[in-house]
């Protein structure tokens, strides 16, 4: 029998199949849709991570007070460290620590930062914003922030601020421009620069010179920092530098045992790695759940095929009587079940595409709003989805088809 004939016969079976078969197809549609949708979501999440990593400065190392094994691996977002941690631990970072870090090979700049949340007043409105006190000597060289208007902080600055784009345009009804004056903790601060939109929490920050910030932020003390940020020359130097920093601080802080350690060193590089890792493991996890639904769909196909073989027993007998070989029957049924898979796959890929475009609207944007990477299906993924569906059709149809092919013509003809 020719291949075209198998396809013709199988198609005929499919077209004349009952509602039951179409319900089976729905099982595959959902399974494939879920898998394709989740993989596509994972892809777009990864693309988002990649794009934000591209913006990120991977040569920064951040030292924060307090230590726990997990914290050093998974620091909070924002890289600057959260200031509230320092109050919960006894340890603090001081000038001595900065001194200890001087002279490490490959280190370009060392920035000292404090941070806190304070009330900011502007034009009669009040909002609580996070204030970062940074070293104006080096800050402008250490970050990738760009100004929308005005300028970054400069060494001689005092009582001035650079604000994020949300602070300027969204938080207050009235837009804040360069040279406007805002009030932080009842003190007037002049805005010298507005940053470009970055996406995420960075946009809601107010940056000030360290000396001015110490006066404004409660609990802040002179020469005590919430974090020390070190910028190295090259990404490759990050790991050795981290080791060097840890060693030096252990000595300068006179810590002899790992368990007594009271500071953490993290890098944006390790953070980036762990975020990527997390995204992919999340995709894998969701994909595994989707795979279960696909498995259920496969069982459904197998079930329907068994019933169909039973139903067509007499036809199988007739076909054998008029010259069909076992192989012919086998292939007709396998092609039929592959077609069921194919149809399920087509609709499944469509469903998957639909679902993955819906995700962003459901607020599932893992990374900061840089969701510009549209989560449309890639052709590869479509082919993968279709191939998977066909494979599942063939695999789950194999046993019923084999059974059909092995029916004895005499018995099959007698079947009513």
């Amino acid at each position: 029998m020719r291949n075209a004939t198998y396809v013709k016969m199988a198609l005929n079976m499919l077209l004349h199949s009952k509602l039951r078969s179409w319900l089976t197809i729905i099982g595959i549609v959902i399974g494939v849709g879920a898998v394709v949708g989740i993989i596509s979501l994972g892809d777009s999440m990864e693309a988002q991570v990649q794009s934000s990593l591209a913006d990120m400065d991977l040569t920064k190392i951040t030292i924060t007070p307090g230590y726990s094994g997990a914290q050093s691996r998974m620091p909070g977002p924002g890289g600057g460290g959260s200031g509230s941690d320092s109050s919960s631990t006894d340890s603090e970072l001081t000038d001595d620590d900065v001194d200890a870090l001087q002279g490490i090979d490959g280190v370009l700049y060392i920035d000292t930062q404090i941070s806190g949340s304070e009330e900011v007043d502007y034009a009669g409105e009040t909002a609580t914003l996070s204030i970062a006190g940074v070293d104006p000597q080096v800050w402008q060289y250490m970050n990738t922030l760009e100004v929308e208007s005005g300028r970054l902080l400069e060494p001689a600055d005092n009582n001035v601020a650079v604000i994020g784009s949300s602070v300027a345009t969204e938080i207050f009804d009235q837009e804040i421009g360069v040279n406007q004056v805002i009030t932080v903790n009842d003190k007037s601060v002049r805005v010298v620069g507005v940053l470009e939109e970055e996406g995420g929490s960075e946009d809601r920050k107010v940056y000030m010179p360290l000396d001015s910030a110490v006066d404004l932020i409660e609990d802040a003390e002179e020469d005590v920092f919430d974090s020390i940020v070190v910028k190295v020359e090259d990404e490759d130097l990050v790991d050795p530098t981290i080791e060097e920093i840890e060693e030096r601080l252990m000595i300068s802080r006179q810590i002899h045992q790992e368990k007594d350690r009271d500071f953490s060193v993290s890098s944006s590089l390790s953070m980036a790695e762990s975020v990527t890792e997390m995204t992919s493991s999340m995709t894998l996890f969701l994909g595994a759940i989707a795979a279960v639904s696909l498995l259920v769909g496969a069982v459904g196909i197998a079930n329907t095929m068994f019933t169909s073989v039973l139903e067509k027993t007499k036809e199988i007998g007739t076909m054998k009587a008029i010259g069909a070989k076992n192989r012919d029957i086998l292939l007709i049924f396998i092609v039929n079940s592959a077609m069921v898979g194919f149809v399920g796959g087509v609709f499944g890929v469509m469903l998957g595409g639909f679902v993955s475009t819906l995700f962003p609207y459901m607020g599932i944007t893992l990374m900061k709003g840089a969701g510009s990477s549209s989560s449309s299906l890639s052709p590869d993924l479509m082919v993968f989805g279709l191939g998977l569906a066909i494979l599942i059709g063939v695999v789950s149809g194999a046993v019923p088809a084999y059974r059909a092919s092995k029916l004895k013509p005499v018995d099959a003809l007698r079947y009513e």
Binding site: R2, E315, V410
Partner: protein
């Protein structure tokens, strides 16, 4: 070989006339009898019954290989047993059957239900193999063949006609008739041509696109006959072909089969418990309790019409 006949016929006759000529007397339809390359009118005498020879053959089948004008039998059963295992008990459906069927015969296997005639039909149609003894078709022993070989032989040698027609319900008339040719990997255009011709012959040229469910019983059986003729097999094996038809339609079908035997030289085997087909038979095999009770020769049957 029927293809050539098809072409001859198509040019000469419209379907209705074709049918009439097939049913009419031999002289008026010489286009059918004369143009088949494999068909030699000189073979006609072999259709004549030769009582003595037959008697001898049944007595001692081994020595009479050269009966029927020196032709070897088309189908030959030698001491065939078919034993079914029913739980603990063994049940012999056939108990040592010896039977030879020659080309161009119209054999009716007659027996009540439970006589083993269906089992016999399965063996004659290569649908099953005997538990013991040999079945040979065209001098080939099929008794120990694999299913795929049997399928090949069935597909080429035997046209099946069933009591309940057994058309594939989801295929239309034309596709049903084409199906056996597709199993034989006939070229699609030729297969289609052949199927169209055969539907012409059975008078259903206007029903190509109908599904079996849209046809009457008689029409369905005509489609089934067309299908059985698709690969131009030498043997047509019919299992109660008129069982589901009224007597008038049944007679028509039987006459049609008889015409096929006489004009095309087909070997017709009908397995039935009904006496109606007997009037067309050249030989009637009575079977009872798994054994051949007697074989009746019917003389000059073909002249009767």
């Amino acid at each position: 070989m029927l293809m050539e006949i098809a072409d001859t016929l198509r040019t000469k006759l419209d379907p209705r006339k074709t049918l009439n000529s097939l049913r009419g007397d031999a002289d008026s339809s010489n286009s059918l009898t004369g143009s088949g390359p494999g068909y030699d009118s000189g073979n006609d005498p072999r259709n004549d019954s030769e009582p003595e020879l037959h008697k001898e053959r049944t007595d001692n089948s081994d020595t009479i290989k050269s009966s029927r004008n020196g032709k070897a039998p088309l189908i030959k059963l030698t001491d065939v047993w078919k034993i079914y295992q029913m739980g603990e008990v063994e049940f012999a459906a056939l108990k040592g059957i010896d039977l030879e069927i020659y080309e161009g015969e119209f054999v009716v296997v007659l027996g009540p239900s439970g006589s083993g005639k269906s089992t016999l039909m399965n063996l004659l149609g290569c649908l099953d193999v005997p538990s013991q003894g040999t079945v040979s078709l065209n001098s080939r022993d099929i008794s120990r063949m694999e299913e795929s070989e049997l399928a090949q032989i069935r597909g080429q040698m035997i046209g099946f006609i069933f009591q309940s027609f057994n058309l594939i319900p989801t295929l239309n008339t034309l596709e049903n008739v084409t199906l056996p040719l597709e199993f034989q990997e006939e070229e699609p255009s030729r297969a289609r041509e052949r199927a169209e011709y055969l539907l012409d012959v059975v008078g259903l040229s206007d029903k190509h696109k109908n599904l079996p469910s849209q046809l009457s019983g008689g029409q369905r059986q005509r489609v089934a006959i067309a299908r059985s003729l698709a690969v131009d097999p030498p043997v047509l094996l019919a299992d109660e072909p008129t069982g589901n038809l009224d007597s008038k339609t049944g007679d028509y079908i039987l006459e049609f089969l008889d015409e096929l035997r006489r004009k095309e030289g087909k070997t017709i085997i009908i397995v039935t418990h009904d006496l109606t087909p007997v009037q067309y038979a050249t030989r009637v095999v009575h079977i009872k309790d798994g054994e051949i009770e007697k074989i009746e020769e019917v003389e000059g049957n073909y002249c009767k019409l």
